[in-house]
């Protein structure tokens, strides 16, 4: 395939008020290949929650880019991430989504490993007539060069050349804190995982979660259902935390000069973003039972933020969507035009049974590929994907709203949290800021160019880095 000029796919001219994305970023297989190599397999990616592997020898399987990965807790309680593939012939070692095992035996030739990834048994080793060179090799499971946890969120990187996780997450950490602090014991996943695919690029999911502009256009059937329930009474149905068309503007905020502000968007270094809507503290939210306690512990401003809807993306593969309910989404790109989503209801540990049931009902109502809202999103992604090969009008126009509003000067809402944003914008329900997407694509461009430049430098130096990029990072482990 011809090389591709990555920089030419973003028309990013802040001075001219222009930010446009070329449709090719969603459809070109060469771009997808670069994204796998230089974003997913050379950068921090989300792996799971520590609460999924609470006990010694617990494990969970996932993927990093195209690589099968297993996260294990060893006998001493330490967590590590490994390539889930036997060093002998490459067979997958752990086959289930989650489990508990002291010793993992490869089902192909019975090489066995402990939960710290160390080789424990190599079948018929003594009779194997191995050369001394074989013994010079490590037979342990290849460990991901970087693995770190922030407040229960586990991340790994297949490249050692990344910032410490705390620096990578940066100011976005505050919004992880706000989610985790809703319970003194932190967050857990409600049992039951829902997986689905859509025929579209992974970045469509990345964008949609941060897209305030689509809500009333994509989800009118959901909003009308809420109106129908409100008129008829909530009996036998789900009392939503989101308001229907009738109630969208009816919330009463204190007359502090900001009562017209419905929400906003905030973007951070390294591609993380938050978009949010104000919500009054009211009993349609399962957190209401803790409203006073949270105010005492964290102060009114921070407590109020816990009730706001908040869609947080941690680039590139995880979203915590707290709007109609609370969802953890893990994005896995399969192909330029195919994406897998694993979705979970994420909830504060120790909430009352009635609050938990309310949260779950609100979740199923809105989310899920069988819910009242998510399918209308994903079908829109597929419609977008169909148009992403269009060569006549290649520049998409969906990154322009808010261009003359967004700034790096902060806003009264994030200022209360002491958060410093790369850019933020606040406004009424009609704002639908699109500058929130800019940090996604600037980060995307930076990571791809970093990888390509390293590749070219290596080629000039006479080594073939193209073939060894993923393998090379693994070699550093040994």
């Amino acid at each position: 395939m011809d090389p591709i000029d990555v920089a030419s796919l973003l028309d990013d001219r802040p001075g001219d008020g222009v930010f446009r994305v070329h449709r090719g970023v969603f459809s070109d297989p060469r771009i997808f290949e670069l994204e796998m190599k230089y974003i997913f397999e050379a950068n921090w990616v989300f792996l799971g929650l520590t609460s999924q592997v609470p006990h010694p020898h617990d494990y969970l399987t996932t993927t990093v880019g195209r690589q099968p990965v297993v996260v294990m807790r060893d006998g001493e309680g330490n967590l590590n991430a490994f390539i889930n593939s036997c060093p002998h012939k490459g067979a997958k070692l752990c086959h289930l989504a989650q489990g508990n095992r002291k010793i993992h035996v490869c089902q192909y030739h019975s090489w066995s490993f402990d939960s710290a990834g160390r080789i424990r048994g190599l079948k018929f080793k003594e009779d194997g007539h191995y050369s001394p060179a074989f013994d010079d090799d490590s037979h342990d499971l290849p460990k991901l060069p970087r693995f770190e946890v922030y407040r229960g969120f586990m991340f790994g990187s297949m490249s050692d050349d990344v910032l410490p996780l705390g620096e990578y997450l940066g100011e976005a950490k505050t919004f992880i804190d706000i989610a985790v602090d809703t319970s003194p014991q932190g967050l857990e996943l409600v049992p039951g995982v829902v997986g689905f695919t859509y025929q579209g690029n992974w970045k469509l999911q990345l964008e949609n979660c941060s897209d305030q502009y689509h809500f009333t256009s994509t989800h009118p059937s959901y909003l009308r259902v809420l109106d129908r329930r409100a008129e008829r009474g909530w009996e036998g149905t789900v009392r939503a935390n989101v308001r229907g068309r009738g109630g969208r503007k009816a919330q009463q905020f204190p007359a502090d000069g900001l009562e017209h502000i419905a929400g906003g968007s905030t973007s951070f270094e390294h591609g993380h973003v938050l978009n949010w809507n104000r919500r009054t503290v009211n009993d349609s939210h399962p957190l209401y039972e803790r409203a006073e306690e949270l105010k005492e512990r964290f102060g009114e401003a921070r407590r109020d933020w816990m009730f706001n809807t908040r869609n947080l993306t941690l680039f590139p593969n995880v979203q915590i969507a707290e709007n109609a309910s609370s969802q953890l989404r893990v994005i896995r790109p399969i192909a330029p035009n195919k994406t897998e989503m694993l979705t979970y209801c994420i909830a504060p540990v120790g909430e009352s049974p009635s609050a938990r049931a309310q949260r779950i009902r609100q979740y199923e109502d809105f989310f899920n590929p069988s819910g009242l809202a998510t399918p209308d999103d994903t079908i829109n992604y597929e419609d977008c994907q169909d148009g992403h090969m269009n060569p006549l009008a290649p520049w998409l126009q969906g990154y322009a709203r808010g261009m003359t509003l967004a700034s790096g000067d902060g806003d009264p809402f994030i200022d209360k949290l002491g958060v410093k944003a790369l850019s933020s914008a606040i406004g009424g329900v009609e704002l639908g800021d699109e500058t929130i997407f800019h940090t996604y694509y600037r980060t995307w461009r930076r990571l791809l160019l970093k990888g390509l430049n390293a590749e070219r430098a290596a080629a000039r130096a006479g080594t073939n880095n193209t073939a060894s990029a993923p393998a090379g990072t693994m070699e550093t482990v040994r």
Partner: protein, 166 residues
């Protein structure tokens, strides 16, 4: 009125429900349900374990009344849901119908089902399959569905699953 629903009549009831879905006569379909009907598609919590408590575990779909189903049916033909325009075409097969328990005005029936789903927009097709548990209850207006649990065996979903597809 004291005789229980015969196995043949129970099977016919299930076939009729499937027919109404395939013909997209959604108002008639929802008319088969009791006012307090529970309609439940549990999620899976592991490779071989369904969730079993809808208040503490996640479901794909859980409706606790007929009016909740009425809302969902309204959405399908509202022209306000892009995921429902155009509606997919479906063909349900219900087999292995077994009356598990019959006590006067209440009958529990289990069965196997598959549903071929064709999406005319993308010219794509998919088969969902699994088993049903129906609780049928005799009311003044005849037999109604008091509870329906749908065990979906292939729960990795290509974009959309709606109640007329399962």
């Amino acid at each position: 009125m004291s005789t229980a629903l015969t196995p043949a009549a129970a099977a016919e009831f299930l076939y009729r429900e499937a027919l109404l879905l395939d013909r997209q006569r959604f108002d008639d379909w929802v008319g088969l349900y009791a006012d307090d009907a529970v309609y439940w598609i549990p999620a899976w919590k592991s490779e071989h374990q369904l969730t079993d408590n809808p208040d503490t575990e996640l479901s794909l779909l859980y409706c606790a009344s007929r009016s909740a189903l009425v809302d969902r049916v309204w959405r399908l033909t509202s022209n306000l849901s892009v995921a429902s325009m155009p509606l997919a075409r479906t063909s349900h097969s219900v087999t292995n119908v077994l009356v598990e328990r019959a006590e006067g005005d209440c009958v529990e029936v289990c069965s196997s089902w598959s549903s071929h789903v064709y999406n005319p927009k993308y010219k794509s097709q998919h088969v969902y399959f699994g088993s049903y548990e129906h609780t049928l209850r005799r009311e003044d207006a005849g037999w109604k569905i008091a509870r329906k649990k749908i065990m979906l065996l292939n729960d990795f979903i290509p974009t959309v699953l709606d109640l007329y597809m399962v």
